[in-house]
Symmetry: C2
Subunit: 408 residues, 2 copies
Amino acid sequence: MLTIDQQIMKKEEGTIITPAGFQVAGLHSGVKRKRNDLGIITCDVPANAAAVYTTNVIQAAPIKVTKESIAKEGKLQAVIVNSGNANACTGKQGEKDAFLMRSAAAEQLGIPEYYVAVASTGIIGLPMPMDKIIPSIKLLEPAASDNNVDQFNESILTTDIFTKSTCYQTTIDGKTVTMAGSAKGSGMIEPNMATMLAFVTTDAVIESSMLQVALKEVTETTFNCITVDGDTSTNDMVLIMASEKSGNEGLTPQHREWSVFVELLRKTCVDLAKMIARDGEGATTLIEVEVNGALNDKEATQAAKAVVGSSLVKTAVYGADANWGRIIAAVGYSKAIVNAETIDITIGQVKLLENSQPLAFAEEEVSEILNNETVKIVVDLNIGTGTGVAWGCDLTYDYVRINASYRS
Amino acid sequence: MLTIDQQIMKKEEGTIITPAGFQVAGLHSGVKRKRNDLGIITCDVPANAAAVYTTNVIQAAPIKVTKESIAKEGKLQAVIVNSGNANACTGKQGEKDAFLMRSAAAEQLGIPEYYVAVASTGIIGLPMPMDKIIPSIKLLEPAASDNNVDQFNESILTTDIFTKSTCYQTTIDGKTVTMAGSAKGSGMIEPNMATMLAFVTTDAVIESSMLQVALKEVTETTFNCITVDGDTSTNDMVLIMASEKSGNEGLTPQHREWSVFVELLRKTCVDLAKMIARDGEGATTLIEVEVNGALNDKEATQAAKAVVGSSLVKTAVYGADANWGRIIAAVGYSKAIVNAETIDITIGQVKLLENSQPLAFAEEEVSEILNNETVKIVVDLNIGTGTGVAWGCDLTYDYVRINASYRS
């Protein structure tokens, strides 16, 4: 019998329109100087929808609008998204503007307003340039074409360097089920839904409430385990839409292939989360921290997040410096339960610390490992069986450059 | 009648030896390449002592030794301190070395070992170069001279740019009471006793247990309110010694001038804390964040710490960018209770946000304020009377440079 992992296949050429029923478009409306800044996802039918949002108390207007839309029937047929302006801290006018974006998109597509979600990312506190947004919404022509996918994926970026997209397929009830996602980073990224937008599409048959259960579970160990700078944005949103075109039986936790579906979603979200971490502002390296031997999974994840979030670990990776002292120090202040005498640390294939004692190792070898595009740090606490992974990136001159001059 | 504040005078020329009974020395032992790296504080008599330590679970060997010394009688007559090597994660040998440093100093001074505290700061995980430390301890000649103070203050630094010292005087029971301190930063600085060492001397008459009460109270709103990079070190220590030479009546919370003494200590610690923040690695600006109108003081401090710890706020200050959106976002994720609609933000004299709505302001004027050596950000939550202050510094290219190459 195949393991769950073996039942899920990566579709290298797949995109957000590969699941049956979805179309996209993207264009340059003028909110940003040059790059695309307005995009849309549409579905043939009202798709079952679920979302998780930023935990920041200060939430941007589009979050409010999207929550209201989904609350109505649990369905979405379109997502209108812009980059360049976050429409956050913009008061009553900002709310009005977000609702106007929603109604303009609904009118354009001839669907009810409450089938439309709104997402925005960019600068906080500036009024939305509605004179650019509204006329441009009318110019969006969603289609299931590769060119449109490229246009859409670009339209949601801010300081991101590359577009982020992934696609997986599996079989449930003998039917092919496809899932795909597009996302953007890349500053204000922290556990707990930080500045990022991720849109996931699937053709699986599953109700909104069940989608929400799966999304919430998966978010905990994927998007909530990445950090770029420890800041949590006002605009984060992960949104999933199910067109229900695949023909499987309705998925619930009682369905014998529920765990396959959850794993399909997890793989999709892990890919997007890792791409966001790799493309953190100014980043040159994706850092993956795995903590094993913790009291439980939650403690392991907590320790992994502390290590990957440490400015000192991040700069050490950037400097290709095998500074395991900073790693153990981060584990020490993570508030995870540890035994100070039993910690092992491995970077790549090289063990640097055993039972909290330094081992002899070749600095050059580890330095070479740290110069790779992906660096894996494994910490074994040796007190239990809990395990957890977190992802982040190095801290570089470019992070400072980008953020010292973001608005100028 | 004079307020407490008016009863305490800054002694501009005062140093750690201004309180009666103390001497210091410092020299270059060879742990570091060039700068002084070994220092000592001594007292004529066994001084009443108290200390607070890092909250990191991974604690360096010297912390253990110092705790053991103070536990014996609550008295210290000397502190031996080195920079360049933290003696952390150095196992049984590290512990042995820290105890050896203690006994060498005790022997040199002809005092019991348990009257000696040990403090170390520098690289984690390298064995202590005892061949350099031990012979050099014998060369230390403590004296109450300005030259010795300079030598000592330099000997405790790591990546610090400048030495940190302050002194205050007051009158208690009609007697002059003096307090002074020396400290070092400047990486791995975070609330909860982060990489820093601070040594405070006073000639006040006060028992060790009472000293501990005052120190713990004051640390909460001073050293625990500074952050450089969010990392909490393995070696932090704030240590206070009272020579009891001033002749006041023994200080306890019941003493009518107890609050004057606490304020004397608070002023001393605030000065040192602010100097540590200003001298954060790569910093060009001291950022002071004051939060008012919170539900209570604790919530205010929590919000202030979140703002001053935000990488995005720190880079914005470096870039002289009036990016109040990042300030309100940090308040929003601080977990302090806030009303999203009632937040005011002021930078310098310029109000940028009122009731969470942007005000028109001159970008150039605020940009000029942000270019000052000290920047004050005031956030008013307008929901209560709680107030709190935190200090930090901007995040610059030099922070990355220093930490990417710390060990090389």
